[in-house]
Symmetry: D2
Subunit: 354 residues, 4 copies
């Protein structure tokens, strides 16, 4: 049995979410978010995060990230982020576009994570330039990171403290927030606002929704302009109930964490199995549903020939590959991939003999 | 039985489209439009329009309009449009934002329609200003118009001829294109590219889809930058198959035209019934699913008290109201509204006596 | 002797200002406004306006206007202005560009002036649209107006009161502020901040400077971002002392008002002389250095053949012309133009006979 | 005698240029570049560069750079440049702002210079991302570089060849082009279009002008939109004759190269003198009028106490300083600085003894 480890985006919608869409499709409802489902969702997020929070349901994570940049930075601000951050490498300049000119200050850091010292130094250097340089106004952390690792609440808090000292807002790109939470086993508040996060791009699409993300904003000061910014960017959806219903189902009864835990579990199995093969090297701790490995050419080729699909990851160097699991990845696909890798590298024989 | 005439956006998704979503939700598919449903949809649009056409499925009509503006105008261009055009009055500056500064040259014209002379004069005046004024680069026509009327193919052709003479592209905002076609009874090609239209915002959401629009582009020259523009604006949807599947079902077996015809028929019934009431005045021909009427205060109030909902339309003056019908508006709601209006104005009694 | 009535921009620099440039050209000075001349200028503006004011010397009036728009509106704001305002008609979309998408709400009004009722109604209509329309955030008044008229302090105050009530900032485009003041005979404070103006584009180039304008900002809240906005737009001039020195000389000993008074006086002479000719019609009161007249074709042609230059003004209709005077327009040119007009229309003979 | 080595921007205007301003200040002239001085300047540039070239006189180098970015990249393009490039580090996001969202791909390279391999690799990586990454559309080279070094014609040609292969335009930021040419001893054509450069930011302000730069464009295709882009950014100067006259005088009789040669000569003297002091380290070849040195704290402090001014250069690490010379830097200031450095480090005594 072959397997798709290309992206969690390629897997289908969870049945519970399809059911919610069918259910919400009755009668008329006010457009543009003035509907009952969106109202319930707002309340649900408040319970989940244990405080007031404003929500902006969206169909795209790039929109969530970029609206956060536009809101906090404007054209003269700068975003401090990791060099591998999705908003730096994968969004075709969306943050610059939405903000009308904000600058990205992209930093290195091991395992896809930023450290407070580098952030502090970068901010200080920019501020020392005065009006000649964009003013750092937002720190963006990706959780789980682009390399599949996870920030602990203490790590987030230390970064946020540095950022807040210089007046920056702290943003969390949570395209895979559920995967991070499933690993951290803390409550959403602990990894976000209690640790100093001001805005969250809350992702659901990669983890079982159809088209459903939300920008979450904890500080009411940030909500004055966001409704018009969302509309102006074409992201105020007319039939918003159909996005809100997805998110409502996603959050109901812990579905989001169950789906993420399933994906994470498969990623660990896959990583453990592949890493045991001679020549394969796991590059980062597996703390969510993404694996980054250096694979011998023959192994990578062999797996692909047998129908296992995954992307090369040139950002991380030659011979590096990314494999992603989903809640819907069949367990057989994981087991099949590991078995094939063992066979291709002779590890299977060795294991069998032992 | 009360009735919602507020907006076609407030009605549910057609069952055929819900079924298509359920059907497409199987197995994995490449993300970002590289899936089979999107491929089939591209082919379907080519058949429907009888020529090559590039398609950009989207979740928002504002995005479709604004991407067209950005593509054709850039920051130094200008859009010639009707003063009541959605992109001028209802999109919170989205065209200016997407393009980074394009100017809207909004003109008056009876029944929500532009005429060639006004367009020609406006373009000439701008060009005469040289570098001191934005260069007109796009003519945007709304079909059906914001006032529920329809351009004939000849009218479009006359406007397009004027626009093309000065190098403008012609864009059609087809948020209600199906409603226009159901009235015009011509084929899609006749009212678009054969009449000189270069880009179409093809709407489906208002007419029975969940969240599904598409920007259609006839000239390959306009397709070079659009993929990155769409991505940069956060409108490249990862799980695009779920948008494409909606559009596929929408176009299958003439569903879109059947839905539109049903909505239009109800609009005419409603208009005929209300216009027969003393004091009520129909302001524009009813050629799609929107009605604009001047109503006596007592009539408007009375209808609302009985549960009939509709918006005042201050753009068109005091005492003016807009009523919109949908494929899903119950016939009873239309009949009930007319009956209530008769009763409120005494027209019912008169009619009964006669 | 022929005469140039095309634009005050076409006349040379006042000798006092040339002398100031020669004087400041000695030794080194810190760049980017950290020089002594700029420091003195800041102080000078504070004396002149009788209060704290932050100044941003610039080389372009379009930059001054557009920085004001960007600062007050951002991308989701709207500017309320007169339809003939320079920033609406002559700046190639600069306000939209600097702000990243702000919308211009251009209103009609007699003699190039706005009235409070129209402003109030426009703002209310936009606010009623909520997130679907750009939020009005700045009212821009042109002083003197594009039609050569002048707002009184009371008129400004009435407009500002309406604007402030809804949270708009009030901007004055003072490209010809000196000409207005020479007519009004009030102090600068009275026509600006005491009447409710928050930001002023203070022009000097048209009235005898080489390249020197300044954006004046009364509210410190508006100064936080402006330094970076100016830099980002390429308008932070490295050798700023050479702009500041022009403005310093311009303001010294009332030079600016003397130059403006001379230009205004010539405009009145010219208007009086031409208006007395049969068929010539003065369209607006002459309250600064611009005249708008409807002239018979033969008269307009005849004057041009004799070497008098001036622009047609199609904005105001066919057969309308604009004539502009400068402090440096020779009196003989004015007298010569009037004499020629009399001769061409036979008015000279009539006057001589009388 | 103390000395200012902070910036060439802090020195006065060359007398020949002041004289030209006095001379052009007579009579009236058409505004916005339709004057005789601008016409002569265009012709002068054509002779100098031995081919057709369109010119856009400006008051700011940031404007020249950013207009080039906007023109070549638009919002979805990317600029490949050196990490230390002025447009990356010193322009407060102006390239991102003017273009509405272009991305800067900033690369490392020794001595402030880019190499073809790094450029090629960066472009290829971006292109491989397809619509998910901004498309590289402009390569920007700084000449002389921000670290005072110079590209040879062969080096430029090799870089341009790589860029053109992938459809990028090549831009030269020539804020100190005269200083580079004075070192290279080649003709302007050789280091620009003959080597593959498409657009040049031609600087004069740092080398003796008051406020005068020009964007030079060799390909007519790039001139279609630039006039409106310049206007829209507030950089179309009304009394342009006063900028053009500066540039005309700057180019007359080789003045620009004489001024630059004088500045370069002083830089070499200063570098030679300081580099001979124990502990001082010259970081890059001195090929223009900027010197970058690592200085012992005591030496740096001692020089400053004696009135020699210069900036620390933290971009290049701790203990690094930049010293800049001008055509107008007194020779005594250079000699005095070297003498003081010798004295402070004991090198003077050693030299005297020797």
């Amino acid at each position: 049995m072959p397997g798709n480890f290309r992206s969690d985006n390629e897997y289908p919608v969870a049945p519970e979410i399809m059911a919610a869409l069918a259910e919400v499709n009755a009668g008329h409802a006010h457009a543009y978010g003035e509907d009952a489902a969106t109202g319930r969702l707002r309340q649900r997020f408040r319970e989940l995060f244990e405080r007031e929070v404003e929500i902006y349901p969206l169909a795209s994570g790039t929109a969530a990230n970029s609206l956060a940049v536009a809101q906090t930075c404007g054209s003269i601000g700068a975003v401090v982020c990791h060099r591998d951050a999705h908003l730096n490498t994968d969004e075709c300049g969306a943050p610059e576009f939405f903000s009308g000119g904000a600058k990205l200050l992209a930093l290195d850091g091991p395992d896809g994570k930023l450290g407070p010292a580098a952030v502090e130094e970068t901010v200080a250097a920019s501020l020392a330039m005065g009006e000649h340089a964009s003013r750092p106004r937002m720190l963006s952390l990706t959780q789980a990171t682009e390399l599949g690792t996870v920030y602990t609440p203490d790590e987030v808090a230390a970064l946020a403290a540095v950022a807040h000292r210089d007046g920056l807002r702290v943003h969390m790109d949570g395209a895979r927030l559920a995967n991070a939470l499933a690993t951290l086993d803390c409550c959403p508040a602990d990894i976000t606002w209690r640790a100093g996060v001001d805005l969250v791009s809350f992702g659901a699409t990669k983890n079982g929704a159809m088209l459903a993300e939300a920008l979450l904003v904890f500080d009411p000061a940030d909500t004055v302009e966001l409704p018009r910014r969302r509309k102006q960017a074409g992201h105020l959806l007319s039939k918003m109930r159909y996005v809100s219903a997805q998110l409502e189902a996603y959050l109901a009864d812990g579905l989001w964490l169950r789906l993420a835990a399933a994906a994470n579990r498969r990623a660990r199995s896959l990583a453990d199995g592949l890493a045991a093969c001679p020549g394969a090297e796991l590059l980062h701790p597996v703390q969510s549903n993404e694996i980054f490995m250096r694979l011998p050419d023959a192994l990578a080729e062999g797996l692909r020939e047998r129908g296992f699909e995954f992307h090369p990851w040139p950002h991380s160097g030659p011979g590096v590959y990314r494999l992603v699991t989903s809640f819907a990845t069949p367990d057989d696909a994981v087991a099949g991939c590991v078995a094939a890798a063992r066979e291709l590298t002779g590890a299977g024989a060795a294991a069998a003999e032992a």
